[in-house]
Symmetry: C2
Subunit: 579 residues, 2 copies
């Protein structure tokens, strides 16, 4: 707010000037009293000025009795998971009723460091969606892999004062906080000194174990697994997020924790939501509707997705339809069985109707975040997996999640002791190739349960360091897939018998694209079909997302990084061969 703006709002509210817009006959959702009331809503210079039906307005829009709901706030997301650049992401989620996101650019910063922060800030400036950022607190996520950057307190310090940076992103390093590691405390201190928020990430941590984490002033968590855990985190002063992403979904799990006494401490978030999920089901509106359909009072659900998030992140100018708040809202014919964003207004302008954006968001050319694919010394020969014996460890894919099993198997070796694919066993080769610094590092292991009969699939989305990960039965297709990604600057690709079957280009850091959501979804849909029909990937698993989580060494049980096979339970590297 500033004086001049407020002056104009007061004049309009008092009827001394004409408002820009009047939305007539709306059933306004009052997220403060958690009730509704029938009124006109007047807007001036992008802000709501009041409800006085004697006011005049330049334009009117008849809401015809529809519910007028404040724009939804996604309290925690990674825009990168949508595969979309910020402007395309805006065009994708604004029609879903989302007006504001608190985004943690953890993925792009793992690849491009501060250039990623700069890009995310500039590319999200001046677009219809309000994008606030949390500075990623854990880059790299672990010391067991090579990411594109290392971000410590000195780097945080450069951005934490930015008005659109609301604090420190999900602090995944529970042992570091609870152990009072100096480097972790230095990061937290950047937020303390600016009085900014610190988001949490503490799966399955509750009770006594939680105290030494919450005591550091960590104010949210989006990783609760049970209602008991959620209520305990709330007791410890944290806001708990009901997350409905693509892989991780816990709205239904956590709903029993929400009651009429504690609902003010819950938020909604998407965390990681894939393009297809946005196309098919929506965004935050999906989680809210799911909660409503499963018994949550619609007005409590809406206030959780709006006012609560605004309070948590101290966004005083939004989260409600009230005088002085941004004119970000949407109309929905009903709220009883979920919400629909039929007409969406941001800053008092109609920006989307029935799921379609009216005018595309301003596009920002990616700078210093494109084509980063510094792979050195890689060839087909790098993929030869020499084993000390036939009894080996295998990563067991568990469908529908990001967790794997720590399995074993007996495999065939050639005369040199190299692994040989057995067409009758569902075991494939997995490789992670370092792509940030040309270190020439790569590591190999075996993986079971993917189903592919023949060919290779590679992706440069490989949480959290986003090296290239490739799976295949033969080294030639695998090598071709890796080389293709290097050539195009990142993406997802499939090869079979030396032939490229399909490629999804992710030219921004190998994670995102400036293509629109429908294009991305259509490419991915056809690639999914090819993966299933031509490569034989198991129907029950997502061929690309599953692959993306095989290099994530913070999630159990057995993972592969560019430095080797990692056993999460013992928190160390292990050999492919079992003695």
């Amino acid at each position: 707010m500033d004086k001049r703006l407020v002056h104009s709002l007061i004049d309009a509210a008092a009827g001394r000037t004409v408002s820009d817009l009047a939305v007539l006959n709306a059933e306004v959702v009052d997220v403060y009293n958690r009730t509704t009331f029938r009124s006109n809503v007047y807007v001036k210079n992008g802000y709501i000025v009041g409800f006085d039906s004697s006011l005049k307005a330049k334009e009117t829009f008849d809401a015809k009795g529809k519910y007028l709901i404040p724009s939804l706030i996604d309290a925690h997301c990674h825009i990168e998971s949508s595969h979309l650049s910020p402007s395309e992401f805006s065009d994708a989620v604004v029609p879903c009723g989302t007006g504001t996101v608190i985004a943690d650019p953890h993925e792009i910063c793992n690849v491009t460091g501060l250039d990623g922060m700069r890009y995310m800030l500039s590319a999200s400036e001046g677009i219809p969606l309000s994008v606030f950022l949390m500075f990623p607190s854990c880059v790299p996520a672990t010391p067991f892999e090579h990411s594109g950057a290392v971000l410590n307190a000195e780097e945080i310090e450069q951005f934490i004062g930015n008005e659109r940076v609301l604090g420190l992103g999900e602090m995944m390093n529970y042992p570091g906080v609870s152990g009072a590691d100096e480097s972790v405390l230095n990061k937290l201190d950047c937020a303390y000194r600016r009085k900014k928020n610190i988001d949490g990430h503490a799966p399955s941590i509750f009770g006594s174990a939680l105290d030494s984490y919450a005591v550091a002033g960590i104010s949210t968590d989006h990783e609760c697994e049970t209602p008991e855990e959620a209520r305990d985190k709330i007791r410890k002063g944290m806001y708990v997020m009901l997350r409905e992403g693509t892989a991780c979904r816990n709205v239904l799990q956590l709903l029993p924790a929400v009651d009429s006494r504690n609902f003010s401490r819950f938020l909604f978030c998407t965390d990681d939501r894939q393009p297809q999920s946005i196309t098919e089901d929506g965004h935050i509106n999906y989680g809210v509707s799911l909660a409503i359909r499963n018994g949550l009072d619609p007005l409590l659900a809406i206030s959780m997705a709006t006012l609560n998030a605004a309070l948590c992140y101290k966004l005083d100018d939004r989260g409600a339809v009230a005088p002085g708040k941004r004119a970000d809202f949407f109309l929905s014919s009903s709220i009883e069985d979920g919400i629909k964003a039929e007409e969406v207004f941001l800053e008092g302008k109609l920006v989307a109707e029935y799921g379609k954006i009216i005018k595309k968001a301003r596009h920002t050319e990616p700078v210093n975040v494109s084509g980063k694919m510094d792979v050195k010394g890689f060839s087909e020969k790098s993929l030869v997996l020499k084993l000390k014996g036939k009894h080996v460890r295998v990563i067991d894919i568990i469908p529908g999640g990001v967790v794997t099993g720590n399995g074993d198997a007996f495999v065939n070796l050639d005369k040199d002791g190299n692994w040989v694919h057995d067409p009758d066993a569902d075991i494939l080769k997995l490789a992670v190739v370092e792509r940030h610094h040309g270190t020439g590092l790569s590591a190999l292991s075996l993986i079971r349960g993917y189903g592919m009969k023949h060919g290779a699939v590679a992706t440069s989305i490989a949480h959290d360091s986003h090296n290239i990960i490739v799976i295949g039965d033969n080294d030639r297709d695998m090598a071709l897939a890796v080389e293709k990604l290097v050539e195009i600057g990142g993406g997802i690709t499939m090869f079979k018998d030396g032939k490229e079957l399909g490629t999804h280009v992710l030219e921004i850091a190998g994670l995102m694209t400036d293509s629109a959501l429908d294009e991305v979804t259509s490419t991915l849909d056809s690639m999914h079909t090819i993966a299933e029909k031509e490569l034989g990937v198991n129907e029950g698993i997502d061929p690309f997302m599953t692959l993306s989580f095989m290099a994530l060494p913070v999630i159990p049980a057995l993972k592969l990084t560019d430095s080797g096979l990692f056993d999460v339970a013992s928190f160390g590297f292990v050999d492919n061969t079992i003695d």
Copy 2:
């Protein structure tokens, strides 16, 4: 929070170091889930670290199953109304369970300007009670009187950045906001630029009239008169305070507005609470208990008086018993019929037991705020009330409030046309004598309903400009009373037949004293008895507080300032004589 402190808290929470204090067997009030749980509570360096019963502590305190409640927050008060200096105020309200107050030093700043801000900041530093200040937004309160200072945006700018100044105090100038007056906008802008709060004060303003006030980002109101007004202010985004002061009390009036859906938008405050009310009934605990006894869920009531206020004023370090929050709490045997502060802990130290403070607060010598009593050209002759006729206006006292009636009467005049007291009519003379700048200004009028038979009462507490106000039947006693106040630097005094009957010295700005609460109460009690028995003041009215509101020209209907008789309805001065 800072890094070193957090380091020590984490170590204690994780059990690597010994805590300072363990409160054992407490029924802890969880203001987030609005429930309770049985636990030990561990404290280190003044902060709560956790609930893990395996922790060790240097000292223990057995709560014996009592409720452990976060310290209460008074969301809006004028410390001056207690007649106590900040350190004595701390000793008075801490035993009531109050841990934090948001104080608006409106009174002392009207007398002493920025010296008052400086004094209130320094005198409230390092005392057990946490005192945050709101910079007074309306000094002087009106242009119809002479206060000791004029505070505009330039003055606000000097203090608004202070960590303990949370924003701009109650904006009483509704017409100025709604009319978008430049000088008012300049004041508001000081808060906008620092992202600080702006408290409201808008009695009986709701519906459409409220929009042009709320749109300026005013975030609280403590002047609601009806449940409808309260719910409307909440709808417009304001927190509504349930106030239980001495003269103004609206907890019971507004309680019907509070429900299980909107309770997160209500706070408790005292506004103006006289010393006797604190002694007899308590402080914020009284309002909370009153609400509970009248049907409000005790856990909602407690969360309104703690967490809600912390959220409203963005005091992230308090308002709950949770890891990382200040160890400010008290024990109460029950909560079902109200709360009692039996043992009070601030920053983890036992500071009060059963209403008694254990160690007096650090005292700060008043600087530049004492003995300011610049009265020039005043004598008994100044009190001669010459009238143009016998039909006169009289201020009609209405018992129990601050509102007066605009009455008329026929009075006796001497041969010179001067008013003569009629022992059979309950009409007395009232004078307001300017005391800040030696202007020699004084004004006279007539007042009815005080009951005094013979003598004079004078006080330097006269809202909001705090000139000297004196009432009497004869000029000699009135003059002596005024001269006494000038001599002692302010206070309350009574004279009869040239003899001083009792005096309450308020050496700090003529508003407050460094005497303790019990001394103040005992002085006032005996003076009340004298006023009633020896002067004959009506039993139904407070002889001193009533007088203090007779010079307040923002409250209807007829008031007297140093500049003349003021008719609030026509918002202008009127003559004593009716044509």
